[in-house]
Assembly symmetry: C2
Homo-oligomer: 139 residues x 2
DNA sequence: ATATTTGCAAAGTGTTTGCACGTAA
DNA sequence: TTACGTGCAAACACTTTGCAAATAT
């Protein structure tokens, strides 16, 4: 099995396993993986030609619902999906081509001062660095 | 004129002024304003009933192109548009209803360590706090 | 055996575009 | 006067959904 950890987690949750779901989960293994639904579809098709795009969407939404996959979307364009690893991380995004890298910052990043909390129950902080990747800067 | 600064900036740029553009620009004045295109449309209609949604989109995109308006989009849902004020700011977002508040953090927020820069020319950092607003927490 | 998942096609959002008409400069 | 903005409707890109057939448990 190429991704025993994820695969086992899914089974342990009692997730009914099918070839389609395996193909989708397989496409989302790795670091710096931030695929659009269509890219996942094409990767999954390589392993299972008869899979449909609707099933890819259904499966991605299930995985997001269980917290195994995280959705990210910066600027325009389709939603991107990434495996939700054990350590939280932030992102570096190219404003021109949309390329995304995972980054890990050292300490706690920022505190939101009480007067600006508006009574919110805080759930998380995300930091997004934007820039131009070397490839885009060269053009 | 209810927003002389923005209005003057637009004229100074040689922007051809029309009733429609005035109505759109007017909808985007204020603090904590983060409107969808449709909300801008409805506000603009109040001042100018014959304005069309296509024109609202065209105008918003023009304003974004000139840097007078900033697009923000967190999680699902349509793009939101906010006036691009003189001070950069970050956001506090309700994960349930999508409400957005502007926040201003004290110091520079985070440095991206060199080994994680990937050769990018850095252009900006954004911090997004997520939480549940008091209204959603109550339900 | 049966509750769940799949694939298809159709519908749903949100946004952009082509073109004839209107209007600011 | 004319280059540019507008409105309409149609097209577009992305995502979700209804339902009959297929399948994991």
């Amino acid at each position: 099995m190429p991704h025993p950890l994820l695969y086992d987690r899914l089974l342990a949750r009692g997730w009914r396993m099918t070839a389609q779901r395996r193909a989708v989960a397989q496409a989302l293994v790795g670091d710096h993986v931030h695929l659009t639904a269509d890219e996942v579809f094409r990767e999954a098709q390589a392993a299972l030609p008869e899979i449909s795009l609707a099933t890819v969407y259904n499966t991605l939404n299930d995985l997001v619902g269980m917290g195994e996959v995280r959705e990210v979307s910066y600027d325009r364009g389709p939603m991107r999906y990434e495996p939700n690893g054990p350590r939280p991380h932030d992102h570096l995004v190219c404003v021109e081509c949309g390329e995304i890298w995972d980054i890990e910052l050292a300490g706690p990043v920022a505190e939101l001062p009480e007067p600006q909390r508006r009574g919110y129950e805080l759930l998380g902080v995300e930091v997004v660095f934007r820039g131009r990747c070397p490839r885009c800067a060269a053009r």
